[in-house]
């Protein structure tokens, strides 16, 4: 008996019990689409995390005041144990040869007032090195210079979002803005960076640290800074830089590692933590989805068993007419396989549809690759076939007379 005929007979048989076949497929359909969506979400989150590694710069080190438990996330600390002196020391190549750039930042929340509107944003005081250390670029205008830093100029560079909020029409460059009632001239707008783990990087105001200390600082101490960003020469010198920075600061602050009043962290550490959380979530959801697929497979087996006992006479007749046990087994295996594969194909379709709707809705790309699609189809076919083995073997073993006898 040729394959074409086997498939045709199987489709006829499934067609004759349409509702039941559809319900059986539903089990596989839900399982497959759930698995595809979880894998897609996992891959989407994974790729957005690796995008962020790029955007943050894998060579960046961050020194923040206060101590945190290792590996954990930390919020903005109110302690002020880092100073501009620390930053100057870390910029010294004899102290930290692996560090090529240092930018100390202080920040505060600032209320901004333009000719049009008011807006609240993070105001950062820093040095011109900030731009390269943070891996940012200026979109329009320019960044402030060393001269402006030294002269405490009232100049500001704003993020693209801040610029468009403050000045809905026309360029922000050259405009005046009041920051906590202090007048500033906007000299540049930063290029878009997108949002990172810490929130939007496009809503910010960057001013010279000297100006910040004189006019905007609320901490009281002119020399305290909230974060020092450092840039290692390259990926390979990152861990060397980490050690150098740590050692230098420990001796400068005259503390031991146990009671260090600062934390040095790399962006990759943050990203790794985020990745591991996302992969644990993917694993968990994927496990649940796999269980639903297993249940779908049991459904196929169940319905195939029912089908075999209902069709005992048909099986007997087919055997009387010359069907060998092998042909009968293949017949039922193909039926189960078609149930699985069709359910899987519909599940893939549903997966794509839900991904298309979900991606913009939750703001995470659900990345369903061709490999995943093919794998999903293969898995659904395999589930159908595996679920079909036992019922098909039972059908093949039926003795033709017993089968014909049952009325």
């Amino acid at each position: 008996m040729e394959w074409r005929e086997t498939v045709r007979t199987a489709i006829d048989a499934l067609n004759a019990r349409r509702l039941r076949s559809a319900l059986t497929m539903l089990g596989i359909l839900i399982g497959i689409s759930a698995v595809m969506l979880t894998v897609g979400l996992g891959q989407g989150a994974g790729s957005s995390i690796s995008d962020q590694i790029g955007s943050l710069g894998s060579t960046t080190l961050t020194v923040s005041p206060g101590q945190t438990s290792s590996g954990g996330f930390r919020g903005a600390s109110q302690t002020t144990t880092l100073t501009t002196r620390d930053a100057e020391m870390l910029a010294d190549p004899t102290v930290t040869p692996s560090v090529v750039g240092v930018a100390a930042t202080s920040s505060t929340m600032g209320s901004l007032q333009s000719s049009e509107t008011t807006w609240t944003s993070t105001v950062v005081g820093t040095t011109p090195a900030w731009l390269t250390v943070r891996g940012r670029e200026v979109g329009t205008g320019r960044f402030f210079t060393e001269d402006e830093l030294n002269s405490s100029a009232n100049v500001a560079v704003v993020g693209s979002e801040t610029a468009s909020e403050l000045f809905s029409t026309g360029s922000a460059v050259g405009q005046q803005v009041l920051v906590n009632d202090q007048p500033f001239t906007i000299i540049g707008v930063l290029a878009e960076a997108g949002s990172s783990l810490g929130g939007s990087d496009d809503d910010t105001v960057v001013v010279p640290s000297t100006t910040f200390a004189e006019r905007l600082s609320t901490s009281g101490s002119a020399t305290s800074v909230s974060t020092i960003y450092l840039q290692a020469a390259d990926d390979d010198s990152l861990s060397a830089a980490y050690q150098e920075v740590k050692t230098a600061l420990l001796s400068a602050h005259q503390v031991t590692e146990e009671d260090a009043d600062f934390t040095v962290s790399t962006q990759t550490a943050l990203v790794e933590a985020a990745s591991s959380i996302s992969s644990i979530l993917t694993l968990l959801l994927g496990g649940i989805a796999a269980i639903s697929l297993l249940v779908g497979g049991i459904g196929v087996m169940n319905i195939m068993l029912v089908s075999v006992s209902e069709r005992v006479r048909e099986i007997g007749l087919r055997k009387a007419l010359g069907a060998t046990p092998r042909v009968i087994r293949r017949q039922f295996l193909v039926e189960a396989g078609i149930l699985g594969l069709t359910g899987g194909a519909l599940g893939v379709g549903l997966g794509y549809a839900v991904a298309a709707i979900l991606s913009p809705a939750i703001g995470i790309t659900v990345a369903i690759s061709a490999t995943v699609t093919l794998l999903a189809l293969a898995v659904s076919l395999a589930i159908g076939l595996i679920a079909g083995v036992y019922p098909a073997t039972r059908a093949a073993k039926l003795a033709p007379i017993d089968a014909l006898r049952s009325e």
Binding site: M1, D12, N15, L317, L321, G322, R326, P400
Partner: protein, 235 residues
Amino acid sequence: MSTLLSMSGVRKVYDTGAIQVEALRGIDLSIDEGDYVAIMGPSGSGKSTLMHIIGCLDVPTAGRYELDGEEVAQLSEAQLAEVRNRRLGFVFQSFNLLPSLTAQRNVELPLVYAGVHPAERRERAQRALERVGLGGRRDHRPGELSGGQQQRVSVARALVTDPALILADEPTGALDSVSTRDILDLFDELNEAGRTIVVITHEHDVAERAQRTVHIYDGHLTDEAAEIPALGRAV
């Protein structure tokens, strides 16, 4: 006339656990090509068991059975399936047509298992349906046909492989008198054309059509003398 079917000392014992039921107690039977034989017997006589063994649906516990030159008593299930497919055509009391298939596809079924090419299959099935007078009902499903017509479809299905033997199990048991006569006339025609036919029945008017009647009682063949010479052919 050469021998088509020969049985000697065929016994069949059903082991139902506690008791052993001996359904056939040593059957010797010989049927020649072109014969039209009726096997008669009351229920419980072993009639159905004999039919199953003749039809290669079951194998004897002991004894020899040769069909169309092949010893079939010891064949495997797959080999038996091939013998049924190539050498036998079945006509059942309850027709046993697949309700979801058209008459045409029901008749094609044995050819499907024989691995016949679709185009040839279609043509042969059409010819068989025309042979039983249902050439115009090819695309009807069994539910759209009368009982007599359904039984004709199953006769066409039995004919389509050009088998050595047509085995009919109570072929008129579910039919009214008109359809019964119809089917029996069809058997007569087929026999006249040279077909070997074995009919299992408990109805005398069915058995009367056969050239020869074999009686089975309590697992033994009895009174095999009732021969009706027909068409000048000595049995």
